[in-house]
């Protein structure tokens, strides 16, 4: 695939490669500066593997001060910088360019402090999402945002992309669960934003940093909220004869004042793919499956489930299957969370991430099917039903360049559809390079210019993760 353009590498920077590497060398430990082509190769892409560019060098600092020294040097030298967490971005947020230095935070992977009385943890940016929960689970606590890649993805990357997950219907996304960050700016200044308290002293700069896709600076440490886990959690499978009925049941559950901790939707192709992989006991004779999770004591879960089951029955549910054990619960979630990986076993796929008003669900599902079929391709749908965040997986063969192009085109058509019905291009994966050129479909020039003027407060020279988020045409620097 080659539809997404990269900026032409700056020859004057490439020509200075040796000087730049020599300038970086004294700033970090010898093993933290990666220059050989073989060793740079793992950093040439992220989870948007169709695109790759070999960076000029990779730096893996161990401290905030080292990040500051490297950023200051790159800023002074006019060298583009691509921040990298764990490299699991689905939108190409961490894909480098030939004239850029990658600054990876993977070595900064320590949990610094846990404060149960104030319900916060201070962690370095390279700590994985799941490691935070792992560290506090013995005390009965957890870190709420739970992207499907949580085993691998880093807190730094989560902050960059404002990552979500299956349980954010109740607990919110990253921006609702981060209280403070240490941010290194392009000029090497280190700023502490927020802390263990709940609100900002002035403008909410923390809220701006979260989700800024590495364009405003590099986050090296974060203070995150940890929450006490519920006494128990139980996912239940609801199989429906049609997607419309499943969608109506979701609306009715919310309408009844019930906010389950998660409501996940899968259509028939997704059910088949995930069941073959995870053997989770998903019903195979339905068109739509809802995984609804409730929390609390056994008595509370029984009561809440009784309410939900009654509503589901009013909407023609065909199968209701409660998890009977922790193992069954784990299998149910394994199936859902490995949807992308399981799909990858049967075909190449593009995973989209638009959000729609949930009332538009039946229309959008029908239109998506038409769009993808129009290109002669197949689609499997998994999504967060409570909040309308869709993840259509468009299946194709990446060895067929024509089919690959069709898949990308179908994906773009679907995202435009999401915007047309009142939604947005991306609910939790970020814009990256993938959706960059669609930004002008969702935003008009005044909207984008305002964002770019704010961006310029941090980086006037377009050096921070420069090929991302904003269309390459029409950029402004102040």
């Amino acid at each position: 695939m080659s539809a997404i353009a990269f900026p032409v590498p700056d020859k004057s920077i490439l020509a200075r490669r040796d000087t730049i590497i020599a300038g970086l060398a004294p700033l970090v430990a010898p093993e933290a500066l990666i220059t050989s082509a073989d060793e740079r190769r793992p950093y040439e892409t992220d989870a948007l593997t169709a695109y790759r560019r070999l960076p000029m060098a990779v730096v893996l600092p161990s401290t905030t001060q080292e990040v500051a020294a490297v950023l200051k040097f790159c800023g002074e030298q006019g060298v583009p910088v691509v921040p990298r967490g764990a490299g699991t971005s689905l939108c190409g947020g961490a894909i480098p360019q030939e004239d850029a230095v990658v600054i990876g935070v993977s070595k900064m992977n320590r949990i610094l402090e846990i404060d149960y009385a104030n319900r916060v943890a201070r962690v370095q940016a390279g700590v994985t999402n799941l490691a935070v929960t792992g560290e506090v689970s013995a005390e009965g606590f957890f870190y709420a945002p739970d992207p499907s890649s949580q085993l691998a993805c880093s807190i730094g990357g989560n902050i960059g992309m404002n990552s979500g997950g299956a349980h954010c219907l109740k607990y919110g996304v990253t921006t609702n669960n981060v209280l403070g960050v240490t941010l290194v700016m392009l000029d090497g200044s280190i700023v502490e934003i927020g802390g263990s308290h709940l609100d900002a002293p002035g403008l909410d700069i923390l809220g701006l940093i979260v989700g800024s896709e590495g364009q405003l600076g590099i986050v090296t440490e974060a203070t995150v909220r940890i929450l006490r886990s519920a006494e128990g959690a139980r996912p239940v499978l609801f199989g429906f004869p049609t997607s419309e009925q499943a969608g109506a049941a979701v609306a009715a559950i919310i309408g009844a004042g019930i906010i389950p901790v998660a409501m996940e939707f899968m259509d028939r192709p997704a059910i088949e793919i995930c069941e073959a992989f995870a053997h989770a006991g998903y019903p195979m004779d339905v068109e739509a499956l809802l995984i609804i999770e409730v929390e609390g004591s056994d008595i509370e879960m029984d009561a809440q489930l009784a309410r939900i089951v009654a509503i589901a029955r009013e909407h023609g549910v065909k199968t209701v299957k409660e998890s009977q054990s922790a193992m069954e619960s784990a299998a149910i979630w394994k199936g859902r969370k490995s949807a992308f990986g399981a799909t990858g076993r049967i075909a190449d796929y593009i995973c989209m991430d638009g959000t729609i008003p949930t009332g538009q669900l039946p229309y959008v599902l029908r239109r998506m099917d038409e769009i993808v079929k129009g290109y002669g391709l197949r689609v499997a749908n998994v999504f967060h039903a409570g909040d309308g965040n869709l993840h259509p997986l468009i299946l194709y063969n990446c060895n067929d360049p024509i089919e690959a192009q069709k898949a990308e085109d179908a994906g773009m058509d679907i995202l435009k559809l999401c915007v047309e019905v009142g939604g947005c291009l991306t609910g939790e994966h970020g814009v990256g390079i993938e959706k960059r050129d669609l930004m002008s479909f969702q935003f008009n020039p005044e909207d984008l210019n305002q964002q770019m003027r704010v961006r310029a407060v941090f980086d006037q020279s377009w050096l921070m993760n420069p090929a991302k988020v904003f269309p390459l045409e029409g950029r402004i620097a102040a």
């Binding site: 606590f141 700023v191 802390g195 403008l203 979260v210 006490r228 009561a303 949930t358 991306t426 005044e446």
Partner: protein, 395 residues
């Protein structure tokens, strides 16, 4: 003083353009109930949201409501209540504290990031605000966010505008996510605890699986002679029975609480939300934001310097409402010296204009952040016409 009351967003854009051309700064006004918040400003004209009213969008099954900025907060709340829903963050009403009149507006709730006791669990106004339309200092109508609750498309300007107190632009539409009203609400009240014991109780409760939705401590003299420590539970009725029982057992070392609900519970939380214990006095009022367990440390340090200080705690101890004799400087030195070493910050919420002009109302920021703040202001409002100096002198 000119008063502009645009009836449409396009008119608001035209007014801003003309004001920029004449180079005269502008105040922004909603219901005028929070005029005493922030530094006093010198402006020649006022831009009012009074002509921009009405609900623009309400989809109960999608849990989203949108409104023009001048819509009374009460109208938004009534519209939601009719369908069994509510704003998640329990916005404070400043009228009691500031002795102001008028109708609080939904636009000001967004512009001031106005939250209440539920913030500890359900997030602040900024967490529920999912979309805005705003006229910037170029007279352009821009949008950020939208009507869906999961949206990471582009820079999150919504967060920047929430709590910017009108310094970045004039809101023309705000969209919030909403939540169902709980079936039942009860408050557990422990009596006679010291500040330290009370905050320990609240921390234990907030670290339990029983999800208190609000957690406050009222030391002796705040409404009653005996200190009161409050936990509010909101849930289905059967869950309330179960969870209150469990909490009472968990916290048995602190004594047995009384349980109140209905009007008595609601009124008590209005006292907390609106800081009504400080209504009608001539004290200066501060709002301290801290890690919850640092709350009593800050108040002890301040009391040592300012014996007449009075306070109570919300957000499990993380929000301290503090009243001190207004004096010359609202005891700013003692207050900020107590808060700063703890990593928190202090905002002067109520004081005579002369004090708010001389004492920084918002916590002074370290240099790089002040530079960023000034840059963000310029990026929205290069001519410096919106509420200049409202948050920081010269910005």
């Amino acid at each position: 003083m000119t008063l502009h009351i645009p009836a449409t967003e396009a008119q608001a854009c035209a007014i801003v353009k003309s004001v920029v051309a004449s180079g005269t700064p502008l105040s922004i006004i909603g219901g005028n109930t929070r005029a005493g918040l922030g530094r006093p400003t010198q402006t020649q004209s006022t831009l009012s949201s009074a002509g921009l009213t009405g609900i623009t969008l309400y989809e109960p099954s999608e849990m989203v409501i949108g409104a023009r900025p001048g819509t009374p907060l009460a109208e938004v709340q009534k519209t939601l209540a009719d369908r069994g829903q509510m704003l998640p963050f329990e916005p404070m009403d400043h009228r009691a504290l500031h002795g102001s009149e008028g109708e609080p507006t939904i636009g000001a709730v967004a512009a001031g990031n106005i939250s209440g006791p539920r913030r500890i669990n359900a997030g602040a106004a900024r967490d529920s605000l999912i979309g805005i339309r705003l006229v910037n200092g170029r007279g352009e109508a821009i949008k950020s966010g939208g009507r869906v609750m999961k949206n990471v498309t582009g820079l999150d300007l919504v967060k920047l505008v929430a709590g910017s107190h009108g310094t970045l632009g004039f809101l023309t539409e705000v969209i919030f996510r909403v939540l169902p009203v709980p079936e039942r609400i009860v408050t557990l009240v422990w009596r006679g605890l010291s500040d330290e014991a009370a905050i320990a109780l609240l921390s234990a409760a907030l670290g339990s699986p029983f999800e208190p939705m609000a957690a406050a401590h009222l030391p002796e003299g705040m409404g009653t002679e005996q200190a009161r420590t409050l936990l509010r539970l909101e849930n289905f009725s059967d869950s309330i029975d179960y969870r209150s029982r469990e909490l009472i057992t968990l916290l048995a070392a602190h004594g047995a609480p009384a349980m109140i609900e209905g009007e008595a519970s609601a009124e008590l939380w209005l006292d907390v939300r609106d800081a009504r214990f400080f209504a009608g006095t001539d004290e200066a009022v501060w709002r301290l934001s801290l890690a919850p367990t640092d709350g009593p440390k800050a108040t002890a340090a301040i009391a040592a310097q300012v014996p007449a200080a009075r306070w109570f705690y919300d957000w499990g101890g993380g929000l301290v409402w503090l009243a001190v004799p207004a004096g010359e400087d609202a005891a700013a030195g003692a207050v900020r010296a107590a808060v700063k070493p703890l990593g928190g910050h202090a905002t002067l919420v109520r004081a005579p204009a002369a004090i708010r002009a001389s004492v920084p109302v918002f916590e002074p920021l370290p240099e790089p952040l002040m530079r960023v703040t000034a840059g963000i202001k310029t990026s929205f409002d290069a001519a410096g016409i919106f509420e200049p100096g409202r948050m920081y002198a010269g910005i």
